[in-house]
Symmetry: C2
DNA sequence: GTTTACACGTGATCC
DNA sequence: TGGATCACGTGTAAA
């Protein structure tokens, strides 16, 4: 049938049209394979999903044990650009709001861009969550330096008077750098 | 050539493999068309790019004229879920930090989740930028109500003593709801 | 019986 | 001449 022939042609055009559209959304020229293109698409979707969930879903309830976590979880590619590394730092300890200025100073000195900063206190304990972006070149050092800085910040911390403990969740954002 | 036949088969398998992978990343069953699937992928990539840039790129420098903007710019689909509407509210006016508690109260009453809240003051003027997510069902009403609330907040604002103007950029985040 | 989507093999084209 | 990719028309099976 002649109808069948053209129907199939329209189907191909439909699919290729979407593929061309995807080519414009990703860092790639118009001559990349279909397979390679789709591979990049898979990677990009994963990255973007991870990135948004990373910024959106923050665990803010303080735990009972002191902890510092700095984990790199996503890469922020801008079409054609070099890419920043996004990572999340969580600091959980006794409530010491006097440490905040030092924390800000650390972020400033590392040239980290704060995407989101959140602080929650509960029962005299506090959790700070920072989502920051670093230039890709110095990202590795930045992560380690940040981790060490947070560590020394905790060590400097003196035991808090437990009688000052309040109940109820007090949630607030911290100053940006 | 028999080699050609199998090479082409491998190519098809490679492409279809990526397509199957994409099916697992999107809200769709294993039986959706290639064309429809790719259409969804295009849409999803656009959404995610917009969503991250929306949270990341915030215009924080206060302008000289009072302004309120509430614009819906992205939809946050979670696989299988219903989807939240993400929108950005910008409020630029004279420096009135006493209005912040009211602002928080507004966000609370609307059951809006604050993804990012930032406040910058410069030369006695201030700009507040809120990135919030609303349940899809009530998103439209929430947007309008938020807009009206911000409007009345500005109207309630009394002219500030201009002698209190400071120079220099003081950037800080506001309390979360 | 018509439509729709898919896999297949083949010829063309480009390093 | 090969190897890789693509568009094309056809056969087939499900809706």
């Amino acid at each position: 049938m002649n109808n069948h022939k053209e129907a199939e042609k329209r189907r191909r055009e439909r699919i290729n049209s979407h593929l061309d559209h995807l080519r414009t959304l990703l860092p790639c020229n118009s001559k990349t394979d279909k397979a390679s293109l789709l591979a990049k698409v898979v990677q990009r979707v994963k990255e973007l999903k991870q990135q948004t969930s990373q910024i959106t879903d923050l665990e803010t309830v303080p735990s009972e044990t002191d902890e510092i976590t700095v984990l790199s979880t996503g890469t922020d590619y801008e079409a054609g650009g070099e890419g920043r590394l996004i990572f999340k730092a969580s600091l959980c300890c006794e409530d010491r709001s006097d440490l905040i200025p030092d924390l800000i100073e650390i972020l400033n000195s590392l040239h980290l861009k704060t995407l989101k900063a959140e602080m929650a206190t509960l029962g005299g304990r506090t959790r700070n969550v920072l989502v920051v972006a670093a230039d890709k070149e110095h990202s590795i050092e930045s992560i380690h330096f940040l981790q060490n800085s947070l560590k020394s910040l905790l060590d400097r911390s003196t035991p808090t008077d437990r009688s000052k403990r309040r109940r109820g969740l007090d949630r607030r954002l911290m100053p940006l750098t």
